[in-house]
C-alpha cells in the first residue's frame, strides 16, 4: 500500500483499538485515509440540472426532496393522538443546532393554535402589582439571545430497560434539541410586578388543553430564565409553545412550559401532577426523589450508531453530542475497547453553557468487533456514571433523568447495535 501522509506512525494512537489523537481532526491528512465508499460518478458530463433552468422562488423554503426521510419519529398510543412525543433524529443531523421543524415534541393534550392577539401572560400571586402582558407589549422589552438545549427528563429512558433497545441514536436520545432562543428575561417582568418577601416559587401554566403546570424555584426565575419568543430567528413554533415558552436553561424540558399564560408567585411548590406522578424517581425502599430539576452531564455517540453500516476497516470519524444543565462540558472521552482505555475527543468550539457540544475523534477501525462509548465531564467536575451505577440508585422500572454512559457495539460485518457495557 502507498504510504499516506499526515497520520502515519504509531504515536497518533492515544488509546486502545485505534483511537487517534484529537488534534488530527484539525489538520488535513486524516481524510486521505477514509475508505472510498460508493462507486465513482461519471464526472465530466453535465447533469440534467445544469441544462435546464431551476425552480423559482418560494415564500418559505423546505429541505431538499432527497432529504424527505429526515423526520421526527413518533408513535402515539391509541386513543390519545396529542399525548406523547416525537423525537429529533439526532443521527441524521450534524452540528449542534436543531432545525425548527425537527425540534422534539412532548405534548400532554395536543398543540393549541393560539391567536397571539388573544393571548396574555399573567403574573400574580405574591407580587405587589399583578400584571398581564400582551404580545405587543412584551415585544417592546429588551431581548436577549442564547443557544440552549432543551431535554425531556424522560430522554434516554430506554437505557433503563433490562435489554438494550435496538433503535437509532435519535430514537434513544432524541427528546433533546438545541436552538438559539430569543426573548425577554423573566426577572425583568418579575421586578415590574414586585415580588413580595417570603416568595420562593413560581407556578407556571400553559394555555394548552392540559393546562400543563409546574412549580419552578423563584431563584431560577430570577437567574437566567427567559420568556422565549423566537427560536432560531423566527417566531417560536406552535409545537414549541407559540407565542411564548418559559425557557429554564439546563432544567427539565417539562418545566420549560409551552404556550405560557400564567405565572403565580407562591411560597411553596404545589405538587403538580407532572412533578409527582411523572418526573420523580422511586428509589429502592419506596421513597421517591422529587424536584430534581437539573439535566445532569451526558453524552451520546451518534456516528456511528444503530442503523449505520461501517464499510470495512479504515478510518472513521466518531462524533456525537455532549451537554450538561450545570454549565459547560469540559471533557468528553471515548473508548473503542469497551471501556479499558479512553481517549479525549475534540470539542467543537465555542463550548457554550447549557447548549449542545459536538465532539469528534478519528478512529482507525481494524475490522474486528469493537465496543464504543463516550463519557462526558462538566465544569462542575461531574462525570457520567456507568449505566449499572445509575440503575442501582433506583427502584425497578424507573427511567427518568437517565445520564449513564451509553455504548454501541460494532460487529465485524460493520453493523452497529446497542449494548450495555
Amino acid at each position: 500500500m502507498k504510504k499516506r501522509e499526515g497520520f502515519v506512525g504509531s504515536d497518533v494512537f492515544v488509546a486502545g483499538n485505534g483511537l487517534m489523537d484529537r488534534r488530527l481532526l484539525l489538520g488535513g491528512g486524516v481524510a486521505a485515509g477514509i475508505a472510498a465508499g460508493a462507486a465513482g460518478l461519471a464526472l465530466g458530463q453535465s447533469p440534467d440540472w445544469m441544462k435546464t433552468p431551476g425552480r423559482g422562488f418560494s415564500g418559505y423554503g423546505m429541505p431538499s426532496k432527497w432529504q424527505e426521510k429526515v423526520q421526527r419519529p413518533f408513535s402515539p398510543a391509541p386513543g390519545r393522538p396529542g399525548t406523547g412525543s416525537s423525537r429529533t433524529p439526532l443521527h441524521l443531523l450534524e452540528g449542534t443546532i436543531t432545525p425548527n421543524g425537527l425540534h422534539f415534541e412532548r405534548h400532554h393534550n395536543g398543540i393549541p393554535d393560539i391567536d397571539p392577539a388573544r393571548h396574555e401572560l399573567a403574573i400574580h400571586g405574591m407580587v405587589k402589582r399583578p400584571l398581564a402582558f400582551s404580545m405587543e407589549n412584551l415585544m417592546r422589552y429588551p431581548m436577549e439571545t442564547h443557544i440552549r438545549f432543551i431535554e425531556c427528563p424522560g430522554n434516554s429512558g430506554g437505557y433503563a430497560s433490562v435489554q438494550p433497545a435496538q433503535t437509532t441514536a435519535g430514537g434513544i436520545n432524541g427528546l433533546l434539541s438545541c436552538s438559539e432562543w430569543t426573548g425577554v428575561r423573566l426577572s425583568t417582568l418579575l421586578d415590574e410586578a414586585g415580588v413580595q418577601p417570603g416568595a420562593k416559587w413560581v407556578v407556571a401554566e400553559g394555555a394548552d388543553a392540559a393546562a400543563m403546570s409546574r412549580s419552578v424555584p423563584l431563584e431560577k426565575c430570577l437567574d437566567d430564565a427567559v420568556i422565549a419568543l423566537y427560536q432560531n430567528g423566527e417566531a417560536i413554533r406552535p409545537e414549541q409553545g407559540y407565542p411564548m415558552r418559559l425557557l429554564l436553561p439546563g432544567f427539565e424540558g417539562n418545566m420549560c412550559v409551552k404556550w405560557l399564560r400564567r405565572l403565580k408567585v407562591t411560597d411553596a411548590p404545589v405538587d403538580a401532577r407532572d412533578e409527582t406522578s411523572h418526573y420523580t424517581e422511586l428509589m429502592p425502599g419506596g421513597k421517591a426523589r422529587q424536584y430534581m430539576f437539573l439535566q445532569a452531564v451526558k453524552s451520546a455517540i451518534v456516528k456511528p450508531s444503530f442503523g449505520m453500516a461501517m464499510r470495512g476497516p479504515g478510518l472513521y470519524e466518531i462524533s456525537g453530542l455532549a451537554w450538561t444543565g450545570a454549565g459547560k462540558v469540559s471533557k468528553v472521552e471515548i473508548t473503542a475497547d469497551g471501556g479499558r482505555t479512553w481517549a479525549p475527543a475534540a470539542l467543537g468550539e465555542p463550548v457554550l453553557s447549557k447548549a449542545l457540544t459536538r465532539f469528534r475523534l478519528a478512529w482507525k477501525w481494524d475490522g474486528r468487533p469493537s465496543v464504543l462509548a463516550s463519557r462526558a465531564t462538566d465544569e462542575t467536575g461531574e462525570t457520567q456514571p456507568t449505566r449499572a451505577a445509575w440503575v442501582a440508585q433506583y427502584a425497578t422500572g424507573q427511567f427518568y433523568h437517565f445520564n449513564g454512559i451509553q455504548s454501541w457495539a460494532v460487529a465485524a460485518d460493520g453493523t452497529v447495535s446497542n449494548v450495555y457495557l
Binding site: 400532554h108 398581564a132 404545589v270
Partner: protein, 170 residues
C-alpha cells in the same frame, strides 16, 4: 446646567430601559377566573362539594371509557390500586398509591380531564369524582363528601413518600 440635563437624561434612559412598565394591572376578579392552581393547603379550592355516590355516576359517564371500571386502567392510565407496592420489586404508581396530595388529584382532573373535553366538569363533579376515586381503595370512606375544607385534610397513602432534591443556593 447643560451637563446636568444630559446626566438626568442618561439616568432617565437607564431607568426606562430597565423597567418598561408595560404590564397591564390585573383586577382581582380577572385573577380569580384565570387561577386554576390548587395549593396543598387548599388555597384555590372553589366552593361546592361532591359525594362518593355522585362521583361514581360522573366516573361511569365521563371517565370509565378510558380508565376502566374502578379506575383499573385500560385503555388509558390506571388510576387506582397499588397501595403498599412502592417498596416492592414491582412498584405500581397510581394517582392513589403514589400521589402525595388529594389536592393534586382535584387540580389535575379539573384542569385536564376528561381528555377530550378538559375544564368541562362542574366543580361539584370534580369534588365528587375525586371522592369516588379515593374511595375505591378506602382512602376516604364510602360515604365521604369532599369540599374545600375536607379535601386538603385527606391523608394520601404516600403523603410522606417524596424527598425534595431541590437545593437552593441561598
Amino acid at each position: 446646567m447643560y451637563i446636568c440635563r444630559i446626566l438626568l437624561l442618561c439616568l432617565a434612559l437607564n431607568v426606562s430601559a430597565a423597567a418598561q412598565n408595560l404590564g397591564r394591572a390585573l383586577a382581582p376578579d380577572e385573577i380569580a377566573k384565570l387561577d386554576l392552581t390548587i395549593s396543598p393547603d387548599g388555597t384555590g379550592l372553589p366552593p361546592g362539594s361532591g359525594s362518593v355516590a355522585a362521583g361514581a355516576e360522573v366516573y361511569s359517564k365521563k371517565c370509565q371509557g378510558c380508565h376502566g371500571a374502578d379506575g383499573a386502567g385500560k385503555p388509558q392510565d390506571r388510576l387506582t390500586g397499588g397501595i403498599g407496592t412502592l417498596a416492592s420489586d414491582k412498584p405500581i404508581k397510581t394517582a392513589v398509591s403514589f400521589w402525595p396530595r388529594a389536592t393534586t388529584v382535584f387540580d389535575y382532573i379539573r384542569r385536564a380531564m376528561p381528555l377530550q373535553a378538559p375544564q368541562s366538569l362542574k366543580d361539584d363533579d370534580v369534588y365528587a369524582v375525586t371522592a369516588y376515586l379515593l374511595s375505591i381503595d378506602g382512602v376516604v370512606p364510602k360515604d365521604a363528601v369532599l369540599d374545600a375544607k375536607s379535601l386538603p385534610k385527606v391523608k394520601m397513602p404516600n403523603r410522606d413518600g417524596f424527598v425534595n432534591y431541590w437545593k437552593p443556593k441561598k
